[in-house]
């Protein structure tokens, strides 16, 4: 079932140099990083959407400048294993992009996180502020059940999920807060007199139940209507509150959770969801409770319920289970369900020590408790250092790593051991082969196949390769169906036709007519 859903992730990265760059110069650093990827043959000069600093990689990634962040968007895939593979390819791209920039600066660091904390000492005392940047997910849904006319129904079914899922998908980080523990947002900034470890840093920046804004007035649900596919059939659910994760287990789990829950909604298995009285307060309260693990939410009917047993497990997983029972599910679907169920069961018993190196927010919290129990400045350093992308990521493709070049607090070995122990049906010993191949090859079961084929065979003929269309000077290939033009459907025909551009376009037109 999960194979029928096309999805992907966008990750913005934070880059720091020493000495620091003057204000407004980050864009040049991003340009330099992209040039590094071109030099080693991973990034093409083919435009995706924007006129400047927006290029497609050979494997379908979009790599671009977004508000002075280097941003990496994965190609569209349709399995949880690919979610892990292309996430790790993204980490390798990130490393390759900056590894040689040290020739121009004393030091360049790049972080896969979602929050920048700054500290000032004022007359009145310490002052902390933070801004956020994104990890966005996209899943293409059936427009009949997800569109502006039925948005109330979408919100009713999915808001409790968006609130409570942070326990499963939270990245964990430090955020500013007021001394009484609440969060105060002024414009794009979160401000406070102190700092606090939270399960989901993004939760602190949410201001609306639903909105179209991604920068300032962020919602639990985002209303952007940009399907990158047939606009009459599809809606791309733009989920703006994911976080930059490192753990392969959590990335796999998150992909299964999101895909199964959205499919259960689409197929009508999430009727009569519990109504949370104040969803915005609830997500912040759950996220901020990284010590006592109370994790309760108040419903509109006055009941106070456990986020895990009554909402995530009792409502969402129950709906997913009914869907799997009544549909044509396969082994991977059922295993994904089992992983979520088991994780909820152990989290429900508050046995966090079972998730060290498995759930990032638990690992970061344990690191802080161990190495910086009473030092918030050090705790910020631990979180940042955990998200630091350094040479250690070469371990994903089995290359030799120099320990003196690795500073990250993330343990690649520990996290892989966790994934290996906990996720059956995947031969984790082959992950290196999969990731290495995916550095230059896109997913073959989706329309990425034809995007990548064009980028490899006709880079000089093509004007741009967007998500939903490939533009040539005299013709366009519309990619309105997420699975049309995949390898199984048209690989033989297209690969027989690549001798000339004309023969290739003729083959494309024949496939379009089918």
């Amino acid at each position: 079932m999960m194979e029928s859903k096309i999805r992907g992730v966008e990750q913005e990265l934070a880059m720091n140099t020493y000495p620091p760059l003057p204000n407004g110069s980050l864009v040049f650093l991003i340009g330099m990083a992209m040039e590094e990827l071109k030099k080693i043959g991973l990034l093409t000069s083919i435009r995706v959407e924007e006129e400047r600093l927006d290029f497609m990689a050979l494997n379908g990634f979009r790599i671009y400048n977004d508000m002075s962040h280097l941003e990496l968007s994965t190609p569209s895939y349709n399995t949880p294993l690919e979610a892990v593979i292309y996430d790790k390819v993204g980490e390798l791209f990130t490393y390759y992009a900056v590894q040689n920039l040290g020739n121009y600066f004393n030091e360049v660091n790049i972080y896969k996180n979602n929050i920048s904390n700054t500290h000032a000492v004022e007359k009145s005392g310490d002052s902390f502020s933070a801004v956020s940047y994104s990890t966005h997910a996209s899943t293409i849904l059936d427009r009949r059940v997800c569109n502006p006319h039925v948005w109330g129904q979408v919100a009713e079914a999915l808001i409790p999920y968006m609130v409570t899922r942070v326990l499963l998908i939270g990245g964990g980080d430090i955020v500013p807060c007021l001394s009484r523990g609440s969060f105060q947002q002024c414009g794009k900034e979160l401000q406070g007199e102190t700092l606090k470890y939270v399960i989901s840093p993004r939760a602190a920046f949410i201001r609306a139940v639903s909105s179209n804004d991604t920068v300032d007035y962020r919602g639990l649900l985002n209303e952007r209507d940009e399907p990158h596919a047939n606009e009459e059939k599809y809606w791309r659910l733009h989920d703006i509150n994911w976080e930059g994760l490192r753990s392969p287990y959590q990335i796999y789990l998150r992909d299964c959770l999101e895909t199964l829950v959205l499919m259960a909604y689409e197929k009508g298995f999430l009727k009569n969801a519990p109504k949370i009285a104040n969803p915005i307060n609830s997500i912040k309260t759950i996220s901020a409770d990284a010590e006592e693990f109370n994790w309760k939410v108040s419903l509109e009917n006055g009941r106070e319920v456990d986020a895990i047993t009554e909402i995530l497990d009792g409502f969402y997983l129950a709906g997913v289970e009914r869907m799997l029972d009544e549909s044509d599910s396969n082994q991977v679907d059922r295993m994904g369900f089992n992983l979520i169920k088991a994780t909820l069961q152990v989290l429900g018993e508050r046995r966090l020590e079972y998730f060290i190196d498995g759930l990032d927010w638990v690992t970061k919290k344990t690191l802080i408790d161990e190495y910086a129990p009473h030092n918030l400045e050090e705790a910020v350093g631990i979180c940042n250092q955990y998200s630091l992308i350094d040479q250690s990521v070469l371990g994903y493709i089995g290359e030799k790593v120099d320990p003196s070049e690795c500073q990250t607090a993330f343990s690649l070995e520990g996290a892989l051991e966790f994934a290996c122990d906990s996720i059956p049906l995947v031969d984790w010993g082959d992950l290196g082969l999969f990731v290495r191949r995916a550095l230059k090859h896109g997913p073959e079961a989706t329309r990425e196949y034809v995007r990548c084929l064009v980028s490899q065979e006709f880079p000089l003929y093509v004007e741009s390769i967007g998500w939903g269309r490939i533009r040539f000077p005299n013709t366009i290939i519309l990619l309105e169906e997420p699975f049309k033009f995949n390898k199984e459907q048209c690989g033989d025909q297209l690969e027989r036709s690549i001798d000339t551009f004309d023969s290739f376009i003729r083959a494309i037109h024949e496939i379009e007519k089918k």
């Binding site: 508000m67 962040h69 801004v131 991604t214 920068v215 910086a372 940042n384 520990g414 122990d421």
Partner: protein, 37 residues
Amino acid sequence: MESEKNPLFPAFKKRELKRGKLVIRKIHKQVVSPPGE
């Protein structure tokens, strides 16, 4: 847990941090980046 009985059930177990000495570098204590998306 049922990990022995059911291969589809995750083999969760108690785990420990295996980091040894962790040096937290000053440069990582403040990551300055603009707001995004």
